[in-house]
């Protein structure tokens, strides 16, 4: 199985290259046989990469430590779950996963377009297989072959970094990769539209579900990463503006911009060049994100290892793709004339445009911050850095402006908003926002930026709720339906719009949670068993934690644990218990891992960290004297809103993604091609 996997990797490359060439040549010359061959190549590469991944997973599951990759990321006692996720634990395997997911989405794109949109297919396949082939070349020739063998077979592997032995960490990278790779499909369609000269909104209509799919995976991937950081890495923090975190945020920001700007092109025939630019930029940023993780160019807790070969190959690839895209856009520029112009600053076009500009502004500031050490070293010879204070300062006003636009965009009129439109739609939300700010201020919330955030959040929420209520009422009275049924029909008839609003609700919740962090509290104290720590939450609750002492069990793949037990009282009543630990994992015996205890409630989390045990060695040996320990107790405000917000974003995205029966796109293209699979649509 392992050998088969290795063989499959080698076979996949020539097939990928052949398919890419066949796609481009077939498209150019109108050769249906070549195009068909290219499409089969997509499926073939997918199948071969399944074999490759299965080979790697088999090597992990059967402890084949003669393979360098397995020896570095696994050990015998590692739980099976983490052996399977070994596929993406390190750089080599995660490149395989990337290629696998890309080929999965490529196959899905080819399959769903087997009988429609045929005029786009040849070049789309060409682009998709070009990107796949690039990753295969990297895997085989950049010194990162996952099947590299050692000259001997070590008795045991070096184990998986304990920080990665966490549920969220196993799903965070694949989810991000799903988002990154899914975006290659819209990019491929866009390039195909440029090459074939079919530059109306068709390519956008075809790919908007793909764009949303990619966006949805990126959003979830980022949130899973925050969850992991909150539980494992940050001891209460969830975002550190680390270069690699930032790199995952960049394509999400531009994809968000793109999701909005395509609506202007669809509705008003504007921004065609802009959209081409955005789709290209987002694609390049997905590659940049892997590049940053893999090249070790910029120091980060996430980077795998320095590998200059990879850095060079990725840079060259990004440069070539960027160059070709820009040339194509320049070549087709005359075909992308705008059909309309912006009539007023007070219009939905304008609100969407500002949303785009601000999102790009955020992208640029983050990119600037990430690359700042390189830029300064290049120019002055002395590296300078910027850290979280920079990112927070710059992105706070940007984030607030976006939040405001999120309330304005959905209800302001297209073309030119009348005075009536403005008054009708904004009086109530603005009033609610103002009342919330005033109410909070009177209740003693005096943090300026948090107040602004809460006020804007209330404004946006009111806008959305009013829209839902109005829509439901209108439908109920026109169709004579009950309100619940009317609501259901309202959403299902225009899933994209209402799904989008639901996504907005989720995003607003996440923003609110960020503002809540301004009110976090913490206490540090050293205790003997029987002693207590008290902390008062910003909501006025009094938590008292009584230290019950340490125990030292031994979990799977661990040498020892030191588990501290605390009983908790909230406002004088029993509130269960919390444990916090130090764990010593096998193969990682010099670095104990800190495991926090979290008691989650809707408005505040009680968060317990076992900071230090005075005699940790003794505690691991279960010695009665070794009990004295230092704890940190935090109250983290509204963190749960991030996870709930993420859940609502997911819900809204699924509503938007759900295929609607008889959508205009599919019927239109079916009737064009007569529902049969044509050998090839007319050449451009």
């Amino acid at each position: 199985m392992i050998l088969l996997g290795e063989l499959a990797l080698w076979i996949a490359l020539p097939i990928g290259i052949w398919g890419a060439v066949a796609g481009f040549v077939g498209g150019r010359k109108g050769r249906g046989d070549l195009v068909l061959s290219a499409e089969y190549s997509v499926y073939a590469v997918f199948f071969l990469l399944i074999l490759t991944s299965a080979g790697i997973i088999t090597a992990f599951l059967t402890d084949q430590f003669q393979y360098w990759y397995v020896a570095n990321y696994s050990n015998r006692e590692l739980p099976t779950f983490y052996k399977v996720s070994g596929l993406w634990a390190g750089q080599r395997g995660s490149l395989v996963l990337w290629a696998l997911l890309l080929s999965l989405f490529s196959s899905a794109a080819v399959f769903t377009n087997r009988t429609k949109n045929r005029e786009f297919v040849p070049y789309m396949v060409g682009v998709l297989l070009t990107v796949s082939s690039f990753f295969l070349v990297v895997l085989l020739f950049a010194d990162v072959n996952p099947f590299e063998r050692l000259p001997f077979a070590p008795a045991d592997g070096r184990g998986l970094n304990p920080q990665l032995q966490n549920y969220w960490m196993t799903i965070h990278p694949p989810t991000l990769y799903l988002g990154f790779t899914a975006f290659t499909v819209p990019f491929a369609f866009a390039m195909s539209a440029l090459l074939s000269g079919k530059l109306d909104a068709r390519w956008i209509v075809i790919t908007r579900r793909w764009i949303l799919l990619s966006w949805f995976f990126l959003a979830n991937g980022i949130i899973f990463g925050m969850r992991w950081a909150y539980e494992m890495l940050g001891w209460g923090g969830f975002w550190f503006w680390d270069p690699v975190e930032n790199a995952s945020l960049l394509p999400w920001l531009t994809a968000t911009a793109f999701l909005h700007s395509i609506q202007i092109q669809e509705n008003r025939g504007m921004l065609k060049v802009w959209n081409m630019g955005l789709v290209t930029l987002t694609f390049l940023l997905t590659i940049f994100a892997t590049f940053l993780t893999r090249s070790g160019l910029i120091e980060s807790v996430h980077t795998f290892a320095e590998n200059t070969t990879i850095a060079f190959i990725f840079l060259a690839f990004m440069g070539i793709m960027a160059g070709i895209s820009v040339l194509l856009i320049a070549w087709r520029y005359p075909l992308m004339k705008s059909e309309n112009q912006i009539q007023s600053f007070l219009s939905r076009e304008s609100a969407f445009l500002f949303n785009n500009l601000i999102l790009l502004g955020a992208t640029f500031t983050i990119l600037w911050g990430v690359l700042f050490p390189l830029i300064t070293e290049g120019i002055t010879g002395q590296a300078m850095t910027v850290g979280p204070p920079f990112f927070e300062r710059v992105n706070l006003p940007i984030g607030l402006a976006l939040l405001a636009l999120m309330g304005i965009g959905p209800v302001i009129a297209w073309r030119k908003a009348s005075r009536r439109n403005l008054i009708k739609n904004f009086t109530t939300p603005v009033a609610v926002g103002a009342v919330v700010v005033a109410g909070l201020y009177l209740r003693g919330v005096h943090h300026g930026m948090a107040l602004v955030t809460f006020g804007l959040s209330a404004f946006v929420m009111t806008v959305i709720i009013v829209e839902f209520v109005k829509g439901t009422k209108a439908r109920a009275s026109i169709e004579g339906e009950g309100h619940l049924l009317a609501f259901f029909h309202l959403v299902s008839r225009n899933r994209r719009r209402w799904g989008g609003y639901i996504v907005h609700v989720g995003v607003v919740m996440v923003f609110t949670a960020f503002a809540g962090a301004a009110f976090d509290r913490e206490v540090v104290q050293t205790l003997d068993p029987g002693e207590t720590i008290s902390i008062e939450s910003p909501f006025g609750h009094e938590y008292t934690l009584t230290y019950q002492g340490l125990s030292s069990p031994r979990g799977q793949n661990m040498v020892r644990q030191a588990v501290a037990l605390m009983t908790v009282e909230k406002d004088g009543r029993p509130f269960g218990s919390l444990t916090a630990e130090k764990r010593l994992y096998r193969m990682w015996e010099q670095s104990p891992l800190t495991i926090v205890g979290i008691r989650q409630t809707l408005m505040e989390d009680l968060y317990l960290i076992l900071e230090n045990v005075n005699d940790l060695g003794g505690a691991f040996e279960n010695e009665a004297q070794a009990q004295r320990a230092t704890f940190e107790v935090q109250v983290n405000v509204m963190v749960e809103w991030i996870w709930y917000g993420g859940f609502i974003v997911t819900l809204g995205s699924i509503i938007g993604l759900w295929p609607s029966r008889g959508s205009p796109t599919t019927t239109a293209s079916r009737s064009q091609t007569g529902g049969k699979r044509p050998a090839l649509a007319a050449r451009s």
């Binding site: 050692l150 070590p154 050490p373 230092t630």
Partner: protein
């Protein structure tokens, strides 16, 4: 693009604001990123450098880490990666990351101020177990 005179006005406005934010953000928060050797050279040249926030990358000296009893206060020594004789003590009042230790090869980035008494007062410590990341064949043998 005939259509978008206003577009460009908006673009210019947003670009100006973003530039302003970046400019002030950078000038107020940027830090020197130095090696221990460069840090020593700087302070020798210009004593006011003691008051400037800096970020320094180096390696934790094996066996140099001590921790105050019952208190969140750590001391350890950072050495230069190239010239092992260049070193300075670090004082840090917070929780150290799990990846930090003084028995293995640990690379650190410390952020803070190099005080006049020769102690580096760190506000942020990032640690990376250099040797733990990926091992070569020889290391796996051993």
């Amino acid at each position: 693009m005939r259509d978008n005179g206003k577009f460009f006005v908006g673009f210019g406005g947003v670009a100006l604001v973003v530039t302003y934010l970046i400019w002030t953000g950078v000038s107020d928060t940027m830090l020197y990123y130095l090696t221990p050797m460069e840090l020593m050279a700087r302070v020798a040249e210009d004593p006011t450098f003691h008051d400037v926030g800096v970020k320094v990358s180096g390696r934790v000296e094996v066996g140099s880490w001590t921790r105050a009893e019952d208190e969140l206060l750590h001391h350890f020594t950072v050495v230069d990666l190239e010239d092992k004789s260049v070193r300075f003590p670090v004082e840090f009042r917070d929780m150290l990351p799990d990846t930090f230790n003084d028995t293995d090869v640990v690379d650190v980035v410390v952020e803070g101020r190099f005080r006049e008494d020769g102690v580096f007062e760190a506000t942020v410590v990032l640690a990376k177990c250099g040797s733990r990341y990926e091992a070569t064949a020889e290391e796996l043998l051993g």
